[in-house]
């Protein structure tokens, strides 16, 4: 009987260890299995078989010395076994014989570095530019973060069937088009890293400022994006990876202060700064600083630096607008875009007065840009209001209202409109 070789409390402990490992390490084991088996679906199946085997054997035989290596070996043998039984011939990669023979011995004994590389391989494969951005996002959340398809669908307010199909198609493209499971070559690295950062930031933004729907934030997506950002910063501490993580942490630090208990928007200068998360601000500011002194300062780092200036001001009046405008100037050179210009205009209005900001916004409109962008009208309205140009403010608020699809934003704008009347 199993309880004779392993007393019950130990068996319980073993089951706890399996469960904890599943949460902490299953995607890591998966990343290595994809390399060893050459196929996402086969690796996913092998992963589950490995954990099932652990659940069966560890309570009886004890916890192995290197549990992760054990799981990788078990998964690999289960997959080979299934292949020998002919259960999965149809989906097998062409080179499976070489692949399995070449690995020889115990694949899990490979260098730690190689195993860490597997997680990078997984991230880069999921964010391969041959996949659509929507597919990259869905696949990354599914395969790297291990979210269930239903969870992803809920977060993106999409039907689960649509998400499932998107993921199935992406995996089929990886297989059929031969998207390699590798960290990109030096020559492509910067561009490919940008794609990964974009996916992570998209996930974060979807969580932070849902573009439609009844609630402003969906915290789970922010948490996943930050987790991904941490993983990437740990595996590949490139300045922009640090910059993006810093930016997300600094945004996240204000979560509790961004909305009222009724879900209404509270603007930065109205927020209760005691609600800001100091630990996240400290971590984000330090990361931004680290990225800022590198020789490759990118746009995420510059945005993080701007967020850090806000986050470290004890009150709105003490904000160093001079520094913020200067950082926007650098950002605008790095990434000329009307949205950056708009944000710079708002900072400029704080430094030099509303008229200066308004002139810049009107110049953007005159070029025919941002004429469908709700936040540009909201900013114009606010500056007109401060200048006492009530009629113009009203018109701009109304235009912003027309363009918004977000419930809390709509309520915010309506409130502002009523204040104008009153």
């Amino acid at each position: 009987m199993s309880t004779e070789t392993c007393p019950l409390p130990l068996a319980d402990k073993a089951r706890e260890v399996v469960s904890a490992l599943y949460h902490s390490d299953s995607r890591r084991v998966f990343a290595t299995l994809v390399r060893l088996l050459g196929d996402f679906d086969i690796a996913e199946e092998a992963l589950h078989e490995a954990f099932a085997a652990a659940l069966e054997q560890w309570p009886r035989d004890g916890i192995p010395a290197n549990p992760r290596a054990w799981l990788i070996s078990a998964g690999r043998f289960k997959a080979i076994d299934a292949i020998r039984r002919g259960a999965r011939m149809e989906a097998l990669p062409e080179d499976y014989e070489e692949r399995y023979a070449a690995e020889g011995g115990d694949p899990a004994r490979a260098e730690t570095e190689e195993l860490e590389d597997d997680r990078l391989r997984l991230i880069f494969t999921c964010c391969h530019p041959a996949l659509s951005v929507e597919a990259q996002v869905a696949l990354t959340l599914r395969e790297v973060c291990g979210l269930a398809t239903e969870e992803i669908a809920r977060a993106f307010l999409a039907p689960p069937a649509t998400l499932a199909q998107r993921i199935v198609r992406a995996k089929a493209k990886i297989r059929n088009a031969g998207i390699p499971y590798q960290v990109p070559a030096r020559s492509e690295f910067a561009e490919r890293l940008d794609a990964v950062l974009r996916v992570i930031y998209l996930v974060f933004n979807e969580g932070y400022s849902a573009s439609s729907g009844a609630t402003l934030t969906r915290g789970d997506l922010c948490a996943e994006a930050i987790r991904l950002g941490r993983l990437l910063a740990e595996l590949q501490p490139e300045p922009e990876a640090l910059g993006l993580l810093a930016l997300m942490l600094l945004h996240e630090s204000r979560r509790a202060a961004r909305t009222s208990p009724y879900g209404d928007i509270i603007l930065l200068d109205q927020q209760d700064r005691t609600l800001w998360n100091r630990a996240l601000i400290a971590e984000g500011s330090a990361l931004a600083q680290r990225a800022l002194v590198s020789d490759r300062v990118g746009t995420y780092t510059l945005q993080a630096a701007i967020a850090a200036v806000h986050a470290n001001a004890p009150n709105p009046e003490a904000t160093n607008w001079n520094e913020i405008v200067a950082l926007y100037d650098v950002l605008l050179r790095a990434e000329p875009s009307p949205i950056v210009e708009l944000n710079r205009a708002v900072a400029l209005a704080m430094r030099d007065g509303p008229a200066a900001g308004l002139a810049v916004i009107d110049a953007i409109f005159q070029r025919g840009e941002l004429t469908d962008y709700r936040l540009a009208y909201a900013a114009r309205a606010d500056l007109c209001r401060r200048l006492g140009r009530t009629e113009e403010a009203r018109a701009a608020y109304l235009r912003a209202l027309e363009l918004t699809e977000q419930e809390p934003e709509r309520r915010f704008l309506e409130r502002r409109l009523q204040e104008l009347v009153g």
């Binding site: 059929n176 088009a177 031969g178 390699p180 590798q182 492509e188």
Partner: protein
């Protein structure tokens, strides 16, 4: 894996001398990748004004002039290559001279058994 690199471009985008330069550069690329065992075949195509479309409907063959679809960019040539993976194929596609003017579409080739040896 085999990949077909389909080269699309606006036929009016090239002058005659540019076209000749393109042939020279493409021939060099073909030799370069042949040295790595990655070359299978390549050809430019005559313009779509030389094209004939053939359809068989209800057993009846219909022959018409011109390409199947009117688009801004037309199929102007191809490379058939051997590559280990998509990244390698993309790397070669990026060296096709017409990638600078038109679009190179990278399509994995399906291997079906019992075709005659090429």
């Amino acid at each position: 894996m085999k990949y077909m690199l389909l080269i699309y471009l606006d036929e009016k985008a090239l002058s005659e001398s540019e076209r000749q330069d393109c042939y020279v550069e493409s021939t060099k690329l073909a030799h370069d990748i042949a040295a790595n065992g990655q070359y299978l075949a390549a050809n430019p195509l005559h313009s779509v004004s030389m094209a004939t479309s053939v359809r068989v409907r209800e057993g009846k063959r219909l022959v018409t002039d011109g390409p199947f679809a009117e688009t801004r960019e037309q199929l102007g040539g191809y490379f058939l290559i051997e590559a280990n993976n998509l990244d390698q194929a993309i790397e070669i596609a990026g060296r096709v001279p017409m990638a600078r003017k038109g679009t190179v579409e990278v399509r994995p080739v399906i291997d079906i058994p019992q075709l005659p040896a090429g």
